[in-house]
Amino acid sequence: MLAPAFADPVRASQAVFRAVMDAMARPGAIVATGGLARAPQPLGLAAAAVALTLIDYETPVWLDPALAQSPDVAAWLRFHTGAPLTDDPRQAAFGFIADPPRMPQFETFSQGSMDYPDRAATLVLQIERLSDNGGFYLSGPGIRGSRALTATPLPADFAARMRANRALFPRGLDIILASATMLAALPRSVHVATELS
């Protein structure tokens, strides 16, 4: 059954937009998202808030098998955002992934072209635990020195994938890690290491 979205769409989506913008400007920083009371399972609240804020009729959306098997998620996204859903990850402007350990390779998504690097996809990964210690050490624009970030679960070779993604710059994917109510962003400019250098 179709569920409501933001109670106050204008203010809530502006607040979430601000949160995503701050997270992108400071890669790895954990920010809070609010405004949404419920989302259809298995879509997480933070991921759903990002979806309501960023996607619209011009942005094809790809759902991973865990999300695609729920008709509620597809109906909810289509009703509230008007975004077309696609089965082809290469066509997608946004990918929503509820089961990151089994996510497809980054190359399956559009990574932009040298002429139009903005045409790369943004992936929203649903994470169970997000914290600011251990795990990955991030550096690059928006980070003074380095910043620690732990996110689980992720693919085992996530750091290697992010390194390959960084090598494509200015092409490459942008990643949003969304836990239940918090999120952190890994834009394509970030360097991800597994040890403090």
Binding site: M1, L2, A3, P4, A5, A7, D8, P9, F79, H80
Partner: protein, 157 residues
Amino acid sequence: MGNECASPANTPVTGRRAAMATLADARASEIASGLAALGDDIAHVELRPVETGLVMLQGRIGGDGAAFNLGEATVTRAVVRILSGEVGFSYVLGRDRHKARLAALCDALWQNPSSREQLERHVLAPIRDRQEGERARQRELTAATRVDFFTLVRGED
């Protein structure tokens, strides 16, 4: 709009469309008083808060010209779900949020076969009667001032 060909002989669609056409021209007060006969405060969830916005109206000269943007119209839309699960939609010209909500509620009730008959009798029928009466009166007033023009053909060659 203009999708008649897409749904041939689809009576549920045409019936629903006729109901919404009636409601589009109705006053909020008469919808509300009609709905009162179906029960006080019909329980519903607003799936999307009622909101007012603009829609671009397109025109076409002579039926075969290129479409052009004629101007914008203010429209208020509402989407509600009643307890039995039907989802009602409405787009109403103007800024009457109350009317948009009531029309969406009527749309949802119309889709449920158990409340459709009551809705037709208590809400739609009185509104149709009033609209039909007003149109008939207008037709009479217009007919009374009707002038027929004749062109007399000269007998040439």
